[in-house]
């Protein structure tokens, strides 16, 4: 009966006169065993690497860490360490906290230097470097000007007030003493705001912690300041979307995507904090040399080896505009994408082949 069934129901079985019920059973059991074994190995193998992700609110923003690890425990330990590092930097560098070292420096402006932690000293050193290289287009002492604006209550300061504060914006008046580990602002009334470099620096430090925990691949995103290292568990590089500065709907959120491996990327845009008066857009990226919002770009994304550079130079390039900005990127050996005020896109030659533009943006 079984033999008859086998002969009439399968083309393969027709050719096999020896295809018996016993053999079918044997193959069935073998396949079932294989299926169970492969499922077991797939789910229980201790060496299998998976992607783990965790999000926290730190530095007044959303911080997301992705790691590739062989167990949840390893991933958790590394991510917890990285979040703690970012939390520590938040305490040291928070512009809005009276207890931060940055606030101490600001309170002592014009009177004395303040002894700071190695992390605060390092990030200020990097800020001064970015200011020097950009000719002041990036300036961490822009605080007296940015304090005049309020993008929540839509306060545009009087022109006179903006002019009066300009004399207090000058990175050359930051005095760094390496030996004593002190920072001093020379003029009373100067205000240091590390908001345009601290998040990129925090991503760098967090990546350092992940690596010290033995993580070979990961991505740290402190809001839009992102640093990635290694390849994902599927062997592919990390892929980052660049936000469309003039998003109209759900389909055009991303302008382009780019692969990121052992690099950092940061963006500055006029769409993050802004208000409009009589059709004129006033946004939060101020030109330190004028005190008014920089006008030449809609958004700038910069790729560099480290997050602090990507973060600070995205602001600098935004302020400089597409022509001078492109020159600065090439001079620094960075890659970047600039959307100018007309919406025209400029890309450095090094990433032309790596960037993929979305059709609906």
């Amino acid at each position: 009966m079984m033999k008859q069934f086998a002969v009439h129901s399968s083309q393969f079985a027709v050719r096999s006169s020896q295809f018996t019920a016993k053999k079918m059973l044997f193959f069935f059991l073998l396949t079932t065993f294989y299926l169970l074994l492969s499922t077991f190995l797939y789910s229980c193998s201790p060496k299998k690497e998976s992607l783990y992700r965790k999000t926290m609110i730190l530095m007044d923003t959303l911080v997301t860490i992705h790691v590739v690890a062989d167990s949840e425990k390893t991933a958790d330990r590394a991510m917890t360490g990285a979040f703690e590092e970012i939390g520590k930097l938040d305490t040291l560098l928070n512009f809005f906290s009276d207890k931060s070292e940055v606030s101490m420096i600001n309170r002592n402006a014009g009177s004395s230097g303040v002894r700071v932690s190695p992390e605060t000293f390092e990030v200020i050193e990097k800020a001064v470097y970015a200011s020097e290289k950009s000719g002041g287009a990036f300036d961490a002492t822009v605080g007296p000007e940015s304090s005049l604006w309020n993008f929540v209550t839509k306060v545009k300061p009087k022109d006179k007030a903006i002019r009066e504060k300009l004399g207090l914006v000058n990175y050359k008046l930051i005095v760094l003493d390496q030996e004593k580990s002190t920072v001093e602002l020379r003029k009373k009334g100067m205000i240091m705001d590390l908001g345009a470099i601290a998040k990129g620096y925090a991503a760098d430090r967090a990546v350092g912690v992940l690596k010290r925990h033995g993580i070979k691949s990961g991505l740290v995103a402190v809001a839009g300041d992102i640093r990635a290292f290694g390849l994902k568990q599927d062997g592919k590089p990390w892929r980052v979307g660049i936000r469309n500065p003039r998003q109209k709907g759900e389909d055009d959120e991303i302008l382009a995507t780019i692969e990121l491996r052992d690099m950092a990327i940061s963006s500055s845009g006029d769409y993050e904090r802004f208000f409009v008066i009589d059709g004129e857009r006033f946004h939060h990226i101020l030109d330190p040399r004028t005190g008014y919002p920089a006008r030449s770009c809609q958004s700038v994304s910069v790729m560099a080896q480290d997050g602090a550079s990507a973060d600070s130079f995205s602001t600098a390039v935004f302020v400089l505009g597409p022509v001078k900005g492109m020159n600065l990127l090439q001079q620094m050996g960075f890659e970047g994408l600039i959307v100018d005020k007309e919406g025209k896109i400029h890309v450095t030659p090094g990433i032309k082949d790596k960037i993929e533009f979305k059709r609906n943006s």
């Binding site: 393969f12 050719r15 053999k23 999000t55 923003t61 992705h66 990390w238 660049i242 959120e253 845009g269």
Partner: protein, 130 residues
């Protein structure tokens, strides 16, 4: 019947059938793990820990809180908003209705995220800069 006899006794058809079954089992594993789409949902996290998860297509109001603040999350017509926030500046309320992305309440340390695995796969990105 030993293994050698069994293998020798098989035809090309038997072996092809066997390979086919192996392929089906492989595909099944990958399909279940990675391909099966998941619907878009609303996740609420406090201090990095998941506290609530709801489908976006079911209307509801949920009171959410942490030791640092409270607010209400309203899900309606596949959109989400925050209302009745206890914080002074109410920036989370100003964000209005969203159907994708995140509403962050800084004082309470709570995030409300709209999106799921399906959405991330659609966008094919691990993070967004800007």
């Amino acid at each position: 019947m030993n293994l050698k006899e069994t293998v020798n006794g098989t035809t090309l058809g038997d072996r092809l059938l066997f390979i086919l079954l192996l392929l089906v089992s492989f595909t099944g594993i990958i399909f279940i793990k990675d391909v099966l789409p998941q619907s878009r949902d609303v996740t609420i996290e406090a201090e990095g820990k998941l506290t609530h998860r709801y489908p976006l297509d079911t209307d509801r109001r949920v009171e959410v809180g942490s030791p640092r603040g409270r607010f209400t999350v309203e899900i309606k017509d596949r959109k989400v908003r925050v209302t009745e926030a206890s914080c002074p500046n109410k920036l989370c309320e100003l964000q209005g209705w969203i159907s994708r992305g995140v509403i962050i309440c800084l004082p309470a340390g709570i995030t409300v995220t709209v999106g799921g695995t399906e959405e991330q796969k659609d966008r094919k990105v691990d993070a967004i800069t800007g």
